[in-house]
Structure formats: C-alpha cells, structure tokens
C-alpha cells in the first residue's frame, strides 16, 4: 500500500523551509511542479517550516493535488504536530503522514493563527483583522480594549497591532488586486503568521498563485528589463502599479496608488526587519538588498515574507513611512 513511499527518486526536503533560504524553498516548489508523475517528498532532514514555507507549500499542494498524488515520508512527529495545528493538512489528501487524531491546541478561541486561504476581497478585511488581533495577543498582554491615549488615539495593544494589521492588509490587498490579472481569475492568496518568542520576531507570509509581477508590470515604463528580478525591484518602487495612471483600467471600479508594498517594506525595516519578495525565478530581501535568481528555483505567483522585531513595533509610525509628497493641498482639507 505504501510502496510509493520508498521510491528512490524522492525529493529530499532541506533542514528548513522558509525565509532563511528562499532559493531552497522555491527550488523544492519548482521540483514538485515539474514532476511529471506522483510526488514523493523525503522529510527526514526537515526540522523547521516558517510561515513563508508553510503558506507556499500549502498553495502549491492545493493546485498540484489536482493533477498528481503527493506523499511525504519520514516527517517527524513534532513538525507533523505543528503543521497539523496550523491546519496545514486540512482537506488535503497527503499520503504517508501520520496525523494525530485530535488537534492538541493550546490557543484560546480568537487567538488561532492557522494558515488561511483568502479567495475573495470581501473576506479579506475580517480575516486580516482576526489574524492581526490573534498575533498581537501573543506579543503583548495588554488589554485590547483599554482606554486610548487621547494624543495618539491608541492604547498599548494598538502600538503592536497597528503596524501588523496595516502591513497584513496592504500585502493582502496587493495580492488580491494583482494576482488575478492576465487570465488568472482562479488565483487565491494564502496567509500564515507566527510569533517566535526565542528570537522575539514576528513572521508573516502572504502567498498567491497568480500571474506574478513580471506579467502585471510588463508594460510599465519603470521596468528596466523583462526579468522577474527587475519586476520585483520595480514593484517595490513608490507609485509603481499595473493599475495606476495610464496603465489603469478605467472601466474597473478603482485605481491603485502603488505605495502599499513600498510602505510595508518600510514598516518592516522600521521594526528592524525586512521583506522577502519572490516572483517567478527571482527573490529579493529588502534590508540587505540580498537577491537571487535561478532558473531551477521558481514561484508561479508572488510570495512575500514579512519579518520584524516585536520590540521595535511600538516605535513604528506608519504615516512617517509613506512616500514624500508635497502638501500644498492640506489647507483645503476640513478636519473640523
């Protein structure tokens, strides 16, 4: 029955799957996508999967399972339990994984951080709010409903929540808007979040299986060359969007400003973190400008990891991170 689990052409998973080694993660994704028959994954070395790894693999498995069987052998009990708790295997027919009978979850209701699929704009607001509330609950014990400081309009809980919720929603908006262009109306977005107390770091992943940056920006004047790497760099520039100005579809309901991704990268950096942005066969890390491009390492869509330090979140002022703008219209605004 489980003979396929001993096939010699199994794909060996690395020790870690996630933002620590994006090239390895997307190489595995490419191998799974390119595999003509059923897929056998060997997880004997795998000990760590972060939100980027989890959201990416989940998105990939959902589409690949439509065409082929996937089995995982030698997946350790601890990581099986973790992935199970995060709903990674929910409604997926992955063979070879010994799932616990019941999910031993320590989370309280309202604090669950399970991997979440977003297919519709209408769902996104509430889902992102719920996730932001849940992860903030792991960053601070302060009361979400405590009275706010009148000068700032925020309480202590809000100081952690606002940059997280702002970033999550901008990234989700970005994915939902762009992923479904160019014939990819069936694309969806997967979101995963986790707080790692040991490193005091927050990691979130927003992954879509849509058309990717190169496809959406191929006619944009800021695209310096038709490569995935150039498209990612263009997407990170302020006011670059496939849906702003002359490139916007005026028959559609709205037009973007093209600053959401830029601002989110700045929020991560202000909180001592970074974004990893992957699309096609390239990825880029915003803080150190690290990047890689490899033909055998590929993500068909856009995958973004947001990493930041818990300690720095209360210092983040989102408005100060917006692109510089002349303010000659301010006097016409009535805040009375």
């Amino acid at each position: 029955m489980f003979g396929h689990l001993f096939e010699s052409d199994a794909i060996l998973l690395p020790k870690g799957l996630g933002s620590s080694d994006p090239t390895a993660l997307f190489r595995i994704c490419n191998q799974i996508s390119e595999c003509q028959g059923d897929v056998v994954l060997d997880a004997q070395d795998l000990v760590f999967v972060d939100p980027l790894g989890m959201a990416t693999l989940r998105a990939l498995f959902e589409t690949q399972l439509l065409h082929k069987n996937i089995s995982i052998r030698w997946l350790g009990n601890q990581i099986t339990s973790y992935l199970h708790r995060m709903d990674f295997f929910a409604d997926l027919e992955i063979q070879g994984v010994d799932l616990p009978n019941d999910r031993a979850r320590n989370d309280l209701p309202g604090t669950l951080l399970e991997i979440t699929k977003v297919s519709e704009h209408a769902q996104a607001e509430n889902i992102a709010s719920r996730l932001a509330l849940a992860i903030t609950g792991k960053l601070t014990r302060s009361d979400p409903d405590a009275p706010v400081n009148h000068a700032t309009g925020k309480n202590e809980f809000d100081l952690y929540r606002v940059p997280i919720e702002y970033s999550l929603k901008e990234l989700l908006e970005n994915s939902l808007t762009h992923a479904r262009r160019n014939g990819r109306g069936d694309a969806a977005v997967w979101v995963a979040c986790q707080y790692f107390p040991k490193t005091k770091s927050v990691r979130m992943a927003i992954v879509d299986n849509g058309c990717g940056f190169l496809s959406t920006l191929e006619h944009h004047p800021k695209l310096t060359e038709p490569t995935d790497s150039a498209a990612i760099k263009a997407a990170l520039l302020p006011r670059v969007s496939c849906n702003r100005g002359p490139l916007a579809s005026y028959d559609r309901d709205s037009e973007n400003q093209g600053v959401g991704l830029t601002t989110t990268a700045r929020i991560a950096e202000a909180a001592d973190g970074y974004l990893i942005v992957a699309s096609g066969n390239a990825w880029l890390e915003t803080k150190r400008s690290g990047e890689d491009s490899s033909p055998d390492s590929r993500w068909n869509g856009v995958a973004i990891a947001f990493v930041c330090s818990r300690e720095k979140l209360p210092d983040v002022s989102v408005p100060k991170l917006l692109p510089v703008e002349e303010h000659d219209i301010d006097e016409e605004l009535d805040f009375g």
Binding site: H121, A122, A124, E125, N126, A128, S129, R130, A132, A151, T152, G153, K154, D158, R161, V162, E165, Y166, L168, K169, E170, L172, E173, L176, T177, R239, R244, G245, P246, D253, S254, E255, N256, Q257, V259, G260, T263, S317, V318, P319, L322, P323, E325, E326, H327, D328, I329, D330, E332, L333, D334, F335, G336
Partner: protein, 102 residues
C-alpha cells in the same frame, strides 16, 4: 445640507484596510454628493490604511477633481489618519495635475 457617514459599522475591524471595504462607503458618499449634499466622514475609533483611504477619498478626487474637497469634511480623525488622508489627497491631486499638464 450635510450628511454624516460613520465608518464604525464593524466593531471587529479596527484598522480599515481593504479597498473592498471602502467601496460601499464611497458609493454612499457619491450618492449624497450627486444630490448636492455635503458629506462628513466620521473616522471615530478607526485607523485606516492608505489603500482604504485612497478608495474612499482618492477615488473621489480622481473622478470629480480637486473641487470635491469643498464638499467633504473628516471628523474624529487620529493624527495618523489625518496624515494618511493628507498624503492620499495630495498624491491624487498632483496626479491629476501632471496628467493634465501632459
């Protein structure tokens, strides 16, 4: 006449973030503007992202021009929300000006 439109309809959402959430409010504002009413938008208890504010207000500026600002007012905004509104409106007005100049 002035109509007050409150953005506090969902208690579960503190940071209004998605364009899709702004669209129904914007349509309501447009209906009021079309009847000649002025509109006050109440942000009490809410933060907002640039995307939400752009869909709510920036889209009005793009479609109706800078003159629409004379018919709008913004109530109970935190300093952050004020700054985001200022950014969005200035960006869209400059975008219109640039497009017209070309």
């Amino acid at each position: 006449m002035q109509t007050l439109i409150s953005l506090a309809r969902s208690e579960a959402v503190r940071t209004l973030g998605m364009r899709a959430s702004a669209t129904p409010y914007r349509k309501e504002i447009e209906q009021q503007l079309d009847t000649g009413n002025k509109v006050a938008i109440d942000f009490a208890g809410k933060d907002a992202t640039q995307s939400f504010v752009d869909e709510l207000i920036g889209a009005l500026v793009l479609r109706r021009g800078r003159a629409v600002l004379a018919s709008l007012s913004f109530k109970n905004c935190s300093e952050d929300v004020k700054a985001i509104i200022k950014f969005v409106v200035n960006d869209r007005v400059h975008q219109i000006s640039t497009a017209t100049a070309h």
